[in-house]
């Protein structure tokens, strides 16, 4: 990696000529001694927030682990009924958006406003693409009566479409597919909610980036948002095989 990861250091923060002895960059809050201290505090704080996110999703992942082992057959059939191609495309879209976000952080670090805006915009577009495909999937599930609740229907699992090699489930086991779909909607729903919040913040960042504050040394907001966005990506990296690919062969 030594060739690729050329480690460099950020440019010196801009210094306002106004103050006398205590010269601070414009973005430094009064209660920090140095800009560096502020940056590290902010980044550490973001990591702690992601820690709470790990535990928030952790509860759902544990529920998944439990029921997948209890009702494996139901989970296989239910998993095979969701559209794997859409899931795969979404994975690629989301990893792509993670890449553009990483590039946006880099653009801010090297103080290139034009590139920063391009990459932020690309991330927004990819985020919307993900949500669009996701809502397509949700629509299919809704049409198939696979949404848990009063209108849930197990017909597709007890009597699979002729021509597919899908195994027919007993009524008892087919009822357990509702657990899968509960978890599917809870996990992807909470994930999508994080995406929506993320896109809203991204648009805000895009708006404020016009003034150039993020490209004059104040990288912190972009960097921290990047951490959040990559975390959302990681959650999906786990959700994709767990929900779409339980037993496809």
């Amino acid at each position: 990696m030594s060739l690729a990861s050329t480690i460099t250091h950020p440019p010196e923060p801009e210094i306002h000529a106004s103050h006398d002895v205590h010269e601070h960059p414009f973005y430094q809050k009064h209660h920090f001694e140095t800009a560096e201290q502020q940056r590290e505090a902010a980044s550490f704080g973001m990591w702690l927030f992601l820690l709470t996110e790990i535990m928030f999703f952790g509860g759902l992942f544990f529920a998944y682990l439990l029921y997948r082992n209890w009702y494996y057959d139901a989970f296989v059939s239910a998993s095979n009924s969701i559209n794997m191609v859409m899931g795969l495309v979404n994975t690629i879209v989301l990893i792509g958006s993670s890449f553009t976000m990483a590039m946006a952080v880099w653009s801010a670090e090297v103080r290139n406003k034009k590139l920063l805006q391009i990459f932020l915009l690309a991330t927004v577009v990819l985020g919307f693409a993900f949500l669009g495909i996701k809502s397509g999937e949700y629509y299919d599930k809704f049409a198939e009566h696979h949404v848990p609740g009063a209108s849930f229907d197990i017909h597709d699992f007890v009597h699979p479409q002729p021509g597919t090699d899908e195994k027919a489930l007993s009524v008892d086991m087919a009822n357990k597919t509702q657990i899968f779909f509960s978890l599917y909607f809870a996990m992807t729903g909470v994930h999508a909610l994080h995406m929506i919040i993320g896109i809203a913040i991204l648009i805000g960042l895009l708006w404020y980036s016009r003034s150039g504050i993020y490209t004059e040394g104040y990288v912190q907001p972009i960097e921290n948002f990047g951490l959040y966005w990559h975390f959302v990506d990681i959650v999906w990296i786990f959700l994709f095989p767990l929900l779409y690919l339980i037993n496809r062969h």
């Binding site: 809050k29 009064h30 209660h31 920090f32 001694e33 201290q37 590290e40 505090a41 902010a42 550490f44 704080g45 702690l48 927030f49 820690l51 709470t52 996110e53 535990m55 928030f56 999703f57 952790g58 509860g59 759902l60 544990f62 529920a63 439990l66 029921y67 209890w70 009702y71 848990p148 609740g149 009063a150 009822n175 357990k176 509702q178 657990i179 509960s182 978890l183 909607f185 809870a186 909470v190």
Partner: protein, 553 residues
């Protein structure tokens, strides 16, 4: 050995001209403040309000239990009363009590920082707390909730027609307030310490708040997701906890207690910190075994995540795991006992004075020891099967939380009141209040151990007549306790205007917070302090005082 320091003469003390209180004026300067001291005061007012709301429900519960028959209120009204008591007291009082008020005020000052790392998030956390509180009050107006504070499934998801979702929203939002407070503390303690303020020079109050913050950050989100799933199950009928759809109700219990057991350490750990400060100051001695006390806080936080299923012994967890969890529960007793021993040894050969905070601290040590030891009874598998869901559990929990935490909170409030407001409260009345609280407490909750041991179940509005004597004692004690809590409210409010001027360091304590003016400046310190002494170094304080006397005099 202890260093004998005479308390400064308070008649010459004067209020400083510029403080965080008179720095800005008007209601907006408080509601939009980013100053950790002002936010702490906002918290203090709001948690006091919710404490008395919760206290009202406790009063109603005790009043109903005065007679064996369910004559004051119907069974479901009674259920709502104890549920609201639990929810208000736990989520709106105990969890934020010491960290959000005293911790918020003091942690930045104790480590020599100008503010918490994220002042705006600190304000946001107060607003989230208030929104959570408003949701709880909304529930109350709509007709209450009667799940018990534990939201046990499938009771909460299927069998109740009360406002579970509103309450769940309240707890979800209040939970985020707690997460943000914890996050802020951790970052502040890691990143904002003044030069020379190493980890082992931190006051123990900071250590224990740090441990509690770790629990807040790691535990609360699990409660959040469990509560979200309960709300989803009620509204759209997903089946994660529903046995008829193949879900496991015990999964909810696992997720709930994964937070809610560590939550009792979130509540008690900051209290431990207060007691360390108070005992050391009024014994004029460094805390015995500083490192052991510091690490015991961390140990409690770590062990706290390994013991939750002891709340579930009779709920159908496997015998094998019940055995393991019972054994692990015994581990928590070790660091708690270390603390009690070390506080006792701190007092040994100290020059003890019996100021009001010290009286509360004495109350804490006695009551917490009883509460902690009965916790060991309940952690033992065989005993728990007999005693759980009886008043023994209620008594144990209240000994730890009211006898422990509330005593610590009051000790802390009395200890730092001169720093918070610059005023002293009347000495004799406050000592009387401390004694009334202690007596009232024993009278309220000790009979509950007996009545629980005799087999009276909790959460019923009627009971067999042979338990009446003990219940009357308990209700009588609750009245005394109520007086004990009203008194501080009155004289502390009185002292705001009429109290004697306290001066910078009325107790001759060593923390950085006592070396600045009271009440402090908005910036806390005029210049960043450089720390060159260990924590609780009374000889350093004596030398410093002598130097100042020579310099000024």
């Amino acid at each position: 050995m202890s260093t004998i320091v005479s308390l400064p003469d308070q008649t010459t003390a004067a209020l400083p001209k510029r403080t965080y209180i008179n720095n800005e004026h008007g209601i907006l300067s408080w509601l939009l403040t980013a100053d950790h001291k002002r936010i702490a005061m906002l918290y203090l007012v709001s948690i006091t309000f919710f404490f008395f709301v919760g206290g009202f429900f406790a009063g109603m519960v005790r009043l109903e239990l005065l007679t064996p028959a369910g004559d004051l209120m119907a069974a479901d009204t009674y259920n709502k009363m104890f549920t609201m008591h639990g929810i208000v007291m736990i989520f709106l009082f105990l969890v934020p009590s010491v960290p959000a008020t005293l911790g918020n005020f003091l942690i930045p000052i104790m480590i020599g920082a100008k503010d918490l790392a994220f002042p705006k998030i600190n304000l946001l956390s107060w607003y989230l707390y208030m929104i959570g509180g408003i949701f709880v009050l909304t529930t109350l107006v709509l007709g209450g909730v009667d799940t018990g504070w534990t939201f046990t499934t499938p009771l909460s998801t299927h069998y109740l027609n009360t406002h579970v979702v509103t309450t769940a929203t309240a707890i979800f939002i209040a939970g985020f307030s707690s997460i943000f407070t914890g996050l802020n503390f951790i970052v502040t303690i890691h990143r904002m310490r003044a030069p020379g303020m190493t980890w082992f020079r931190l006051p123990l109050f900071v250590w224990s708040n740090y441990a509690a913050s770790v629990l807040m950050v790691l535990g609360t989100p699990v409660l959040a997701i469990a509560i979200v799933l309960v709300a989803l199950e009620r509204t759209i009928g997903i089946g994660v906890f529903d046995p008829t759809k193949g879900g496991d109700p015990l999964l909810f219990q696992h997720l709930f207690w994964f937070y809610s057991h560590p939550a009792v350490y979130i509540m008690i750990l900051p209290g431990f910190g207060v007691i360390s400060e108070v005992i050391s100051t009024f014994s004029r001695k460094r805390v015995f075994g500083y490192t052991a006390v510091a690490f015991s806080s961390v140990a409690i936080a770590v062990f706290g995540f390994f013991v939750w299923a002891h709340h579930m012994f009779i709920m159908g967890v496997s015998n094998y795991s019940a055995l393991v969890f019972s054994l692990l529960t015994m581990l928590v007793a070790v660091p708690s006992a270390i603390k009690i021993f070390n506080w006792s040894f701190t007092m040994q050969k100290g020059s003890i004075t019996f100021e009001t905070p010290m009286l509360y601290a004495f109350g804490f040590i006695g009551l917490f020891t009883i509460g902690g030891l009965t916790g060991v009874f309940l952690g033992a598998l065989g005993m728990d099967v007999m005693l759980t869901e009886t008043y023994f559990v209620v008594a144990h929990f209240h000994f730890v939380m009211v006898g422990g935490m509330l005593m610590a909170f009051l000790a802390g409030i009395h200890f730092w009141w001169p720093k918070l407001t610059g005023r002293m409260y009347p000495e004799s009345v406050s000592k009387l209040a401390a004694i009334i609280t202690f007596v009232g407490f024993i009278l309220t909750f000790f009979p509950q151990f007996v009545v629980g041991y005799l087999g009276m179940p909790r959460r019923y509005h009627a009971y067999p007549p042979e338990f009446q004597v003990l219940n009357v004692l308990s209700t009588a004690g609750a009245t005394v306790l109520g007086v004990g809590y009203m008194l501080p409210l009155l004289y502390l409010a009185w002292s705001l205007k009429y109290g004697a001027i306290a001066g910078n360091n009325p107790w001759q304590a060593t923390g950085l917070e006592w070396q600045i003016q009271s009440p402090p400046l908005t910036e806390n310190f005029l210049e960043t302090p450089i720390v060159d002494h260990e924590a609780y170094d009374y000889e350093w304080l004596e030398r410093k005082t002598e130097r100042e006397l020579q310099y000024v005099g």
